[in-house]
Amino acid sequence: MSQVSSDWVADAEIAPPLPAVRGTSLLRRSLKLWRTRIGLALVGFIVLLAIVGPYVAPYGPNTPVGAPNSTPGGKAVLGTDYLGQDVLSRVLYGGRSILVLAVIATALGLVAGTAIGLVAAYSRNALDDTLMRGMDVFMALPQILLALVAVTIVGPHAWVVVAAIALTTAPRIARVARGAAQPIVERDFIAASEAMGVPRWRIVSGELLPNCLGPLMVEASLRLTYSITLIAALAYLGLTPNPNDANWGIMIKQNQFVLAVQPWGAVAPIIAIALLTMGTGLIGDGIARTAAGIDRARGEE
């Protein structure tokens, strides 16, 4: 999948900014769409799996339960992996780290990017140019490349991966936040607040931010999908602190080469990741359609 849909397309001259919508009502309205409901169900299922999984797993994630690569049946419902560990148990354990890291990285990038984008749009001076050119530099590197460079230099720690993803998520969010805030900065109610002497940070957080939530939520859901993908991909490349952790990415890498003998070791985590990213993708599309007014437009066009 591709992470470009909003990166450089977001130029205001090409794509008009989405209309400003209040966040909670946007979420509620997006639930009218079946795709949002299906997405929510998929994500809910995987999150539940990740939270409850470790308590219901029949074995520990690193306990040998039988001969390596044995097919499903007997003690192991989904068979064993290349080390004789229970595939089902490892799948039940393997979701937490991906979900936790992806959410933290996206949240950090979202907060930093929103702050930078709104401040840039509100300043309307050299600070705007400086901030956005700085963002361009980080956007000139594909996310996975910056993550790989960071891991080479510092090592495959979880915080490095989180920092690299947050750092590359922020400029993409900042671009959207700035694009959404620019027309609002020109509006009269901002000038009125300024005339009343409202402090600048309150204008940015209290007036500007609530009016940019629609596009930001669309972008945030998109970014979460990419963060999940990246974290799983880095684990799949083997760039994790513990190479035998129960982690869906690591499991796929480990069992890819025995696919012909015992496919479940790789297939089960592949299904888990696929359901998760399809879920976040569907939710994001649902929110985007609602924000753009597509949910109401069909009958009225």
Binding site: M1, S2, Q3, V4, S5, D7, W8, V9, D11, E13, I14, R35, D129, R133, D136, V137, A140, L141, P142, Q143, I144, L145, L148, V149, A150, V151, T152, I153, T225, I228, T229, A232, A233, Y236, L237, G238, L239, I252, Q256, L259, A260, P263, A266, V267, I270, I273, A274, T277, M278, T280, G281, L282, D285, R298
Partner: protein, 324 residues
Amino acid sequence: MSRFRPSGVWGFILRRLLLGVVVLILVSILVFLATQALPSDPALAILGRSATPASLAALRRQLHLDRSVIDQYWTWVTGLLHGNLGTSLAAQEPVTTLLSPKLVNSAVLVAVAAVVSIPLSIAIGAWAALKRDKAFDRTSSNLLLALAALPEFVVALVLVIVFATTVFHVLPAISTVPPGSRPWNNWVALVLPTITLVIAVAPYVARIMRASMIEVLESDYVEMARLKGLPERTVLVRHALPNALGPVFQVIALNLAYLAGGIIIIEFVFNYSGIGGAITEAVVNHDLPVVQALAILIAAVYVILNLLADVATILVTPKLRTQL
């Protein structure tokens, strides 16, 4: 930059070009400084524990590590501009010798994927727009939405499971290109990586093509052409299609730029001998000159394709030209 504003299309291209150069210079500083922050001593890393103080000092001098940071950066950048990317620490070979065959392999893969995916996705998008809200449109839209959300390595592995290892056994699961041979010598091995790249790109291009085509089909000039009594075929091919392609160019360039990063993981899945495999290997081996060179190279491709996307959009959209 804001003081300097040449106008017109060429002025716009010039401004975007300058901005691209500035971004690349800043990226090179970023990549260089990042590698400077490395805690370990490259000389020690090369020589290992058997190093004597004298040999370490000699190697440091050879790698210019004894000079100032600015001096080192200058040497590195001028070397870069002269096509000298340094020496790989792991292979003890010039980085250019090491990377150029892999660069060719990656370029072939991306080119094949582009040639297949661009016409295919434009056709799907245009057809979906013509059959709006009919079965084909609904099916393709939902399918593309689902495919777009899947990570590339998941798509790649599903293809491997279906076509190579488990369900059918018709295609190779591994696409290694042996040294000395070329990817097209064994084209069967290219099939699965190509399909993966096509699936990574096509949903985005098809979606924008559909949206753009719908907008054009509802426009006044298409209505005008129909009212004039032109055959529907002429209306579509001569009037609608060329106008709908404008926004699509940008998305195509952006997706090709994305592939510059995306092939890293796909080449790893298929063990394909391209720059993606090279950078993964270099990361594992802490081979900094190779990582530096590839980071700059990929960033340059990314910046150039983004530049082309902007220019193409301006050139094919007359409305935007007036605003410059």
